[in-house]
């Protein structure tokens, strides 16, 4: 087996993992603080891609890069305010079903606006061309996307670990009543976290668009993946989510060599394994999804 092919696939896998990480972190944060499974997360991912594809020819790459996440964040704000606030505190299943409904309706709206055909995003000027190293030719654009994702992840990590806001959010994940009692406005906090999650999803959509093409099902496709990764990594843990995302990205990428047809099933098989053997995930400290088993193990 050609070592070059493996290296290329490895890089692809890392890039894949980074994008997955951006999506999954947003999902994990919302799940952590609100105890709500946001199945509309994938929809926001899709909107990020579509809106970016739509406005970047008009106003340019970088302006679109900044404006699109803001638009998607706005959508997230509306979804949270109108729908999610009604399901806090109830069985997480309700949140799942409601957001699934939103996702279905939203996907249809995407189809109404932009049609059912897959769109293609062209490479912007600044990142065209290839990089040569170690006997491999790798597209510059992919490296740029990987770097962008990495920067996003580092920023969120800084936000969560270092900033005041992050500390409050982390505390809110463990005990939301307490931080409410300490004077922090919990609904506003949840709303803000949801917006952050939406922005992350939107940005991931922008990054992923040129790689995978833009199609209306990309929302539901990535959703279960994000969920799996969030669970494997452990809810509420950014480190775990990133690690899990990278692992899945690399496995998916390299798996094409070994089991090409079943590669798509790998995340689900991992999900089953995690749910059976380690429901808390790698680094998570919280099984906030309620009772796992009939009798606690």
């Amino acid at each position: 087996m050609n070592i070059n092919i493996i290296l290329v696939l490895l890089f692809n896998g890392v890039l894949l993992g980074l994008i997955y990480a951006v999506v999954s972190i947003g999902f994990s944060l919302v799940l952590g603080i609100g105890q709500v499974i946001n199945f509309a997360h994938g929809l926001l991912f899709a909107f990020g891609a579509y809106i970016f594809w739509y406005i970047s020819p008009i106003i340019g790459y970088w302006p679109a890069f900044i404006i699109t996440p803001l638009i998607v964040g706005g959508m997230g704000y509306l979804i949270e305010k109108l729908v999610i606030t009604r399901v806090y505190g109830q069985d997480p299943l309700f949140g799942l079903l409601v957001t699934l409904g939103i996702s279905l309706a939203g996907t249809e709206i995407i189809r109404m606006i932009w049609g059912k055909l897959t769109k293609v995003v062209s490479t912007p000027g600044f990142a065209a061309g290839q990089v040569h190293f170690a006997n491999i030719i790798y597209p510059k654009y992919r490296i740029a996307l990987a770097l962008i994702s990495l920067i996003i992840i580092l920023f969120v990590w800084w936000l969560m670990i270092r900033s005041n806001f992050g500390t409050i959010v982390k505390a809110g994940m463990t005990d939301s009543e307490m931080i409410s009692a300490l004077g922090h406005n919990l609904p506003v906090l949840r709303n803000r976290v949801f917006i952050i999650g939406s922005i992350l999803a939107g940005m991931a959509g922008i990054v992923a668009a040129p790689l995978w093409g833009i199609k209306s099902e990309m929302g539901t496709d990535i959703l279960m993946l994000a969920f799996t990764i969030a669970l494997i990594g452990g809810l509420g843990s950014i480190k775990g989510t990133v690690i899990a995302a990278l692992v899945i990205g690399i496995i998916t990428s390299l798996g094409v060599l070994i089991i090409p047809r079943l590669v798509e099933a790998v995340p689900f098989i991992l999900l089953i394994a995690v749910l059976f053997y380690k429901p808390k995930g790698l680094y998570g400290e919280l099984t906030i999804l309620g009772e796992v088993t009939a009798r606690e193990k």
Partner: protein, 343 residues
């Protein structure tokens, strides 16, 4: 507490009458495949509701049972039946094989509850979907298996739509009665208790895990049966029914009618669902938008479904009447007391 069984009070009688004359209803009756699909969905959602409404197990992967039932029927049919063309064997094989799969699956996850249960069912069903989609040699992959003809059953040729409709009606009717019996039996009562308070049921001495495994098996048997009937209805099988998003269809159909609180909820819900889906999809290409919105609205404002609302209205009227009676009695008593005082 057992009232004497009065057949005139049994909704099944009226349902049977309604569906019996369905083909003769003007305008609507022509759409026999629609009616047949409604019947299949009734049995399918009843089987699904055994898990969700009765035992409180949210199964999001039920489409897998349905889809595998379809595939098994198609494959058995192609392999064995080409000569005698008896329809019984493929459909029976579908129920049994899916039943075994459901038992196997139910055994593995017999101790999972709530969200974790839902997630595992999604994961499993998605793996099966991917296998069905990619295993082109067996399942036809994206193209599926097509051009199947219905054989005959007990000498009656079922290729005629009307005959197949009545065939399905009989099977669905019998299946529904069986499920009804199950829910009314001691087994069914334990299931209902499990939904409300599992720990208490365990302390009463029941092995709740076993019950969950068994109900999964029963549910799977009927779901597989429905899948088989569906396959023969349209003469084709495709993998997309097994996708987890599609599994949401039966969830919404069940919830819409009131499956959480009423046995007949799924019947009402799936009839409306199949009908609405047909009408809407032929009128508006993007009808899924309404579907998603309906999803949201039902979960937010009507989780007990239509029959649940009917029950609530009935209860309100009942308590109103009760209060009125009480107020009347109070006034009478006060009137008497007044007269006593004034004496």
């Amino acid at each position: 507490m057992n009232k004497q069984y009065n057949i005139l009070n049994d909704p099944f009688l009226y349902l049977l009458i309604f569906f019996g004359v369905f083909p003769f209803i003007p305008l609507l009756g022509k759409y026999l495949s629609l009616g047949t699909e409604m019947l299949i969905w009734i049995l399918y959602s009843l089987s699904f509701n055994l898990l969700l409404g009765y035992t409180g197990l949210p199964s999001f992967g039920h489409g897998a049972f349905y889809g595998i039932g379809s595939y098994v029927t198609a494959l058995v049919y192609l392999q064995f039946i080409n000569n005698s063309k008896n329809i019984f064997l493929p459909v029976l094989a579908a129920s049994l094989i899916v039943g075994m799969l459901a038992y196997f699956f139910g055994f593995i996850i017999r101790k999972k509850r709530g969200i974790y249960f839902a997630l595992i069912t999604v994961a499993f069903s998605q793996v099966l979907y991917i296998i069905a989609f990619k295993w082109t040699e067996v399942t036809g992959g994206e193209l599926g298996i097509t051009r199947l003809f219905r054989g005959q059953f007990l000498g009656i040729d079922l290729n005629n739509s009307t005959r197949y409709y009545y065939f399905v009606l009989i099977i669905v009717f019998l299946g529904s009665i069986i499920i009804r019996k199950i829910t009314l039996s001691p087994f069914g009562k334990v299931l209902k208790a499990l939904k409300q308070n599992e720990t208490r049921v365990q302390y009463l001495g029941y092995n709740s895990a076993k019950y969950c495994c068994y109900v999964m098996t029963i549910s799977g048997i009927f779901a597989g049966l429905c899948g088989g009937l569906y396959c023969l209805l349209y003469g084709a099988v495709f993998a997309d029914n097994m996708h987890w998003v599609k599994s949401g269809d039966v969830v919404i159909a069940t919830l819409l009618g009131g499956g959480m609180t009423n046995f007949y909820g799924p019947i009402v819900g799936s009839s409306i669902f199949v009908l609405a889906r047909e009408i809407l999809s032929s009128v508006w290409d993007n009808w899924m938008l309404l579907y998603g919105l309906a999803f949201v609205l039902i979960i937010l404002f009507m989780p007990t479904g239509l029959l649940g609302m009917v029950e609530r209205i009935k209860e309100k009227k009942h308590t109103e009447q009760f209060n009125n009676n009480n107020n009347k009695k109070k006034k009478d008593l006060e009137g008497i007391a007044h007269k006593e005082e004034n004496k």
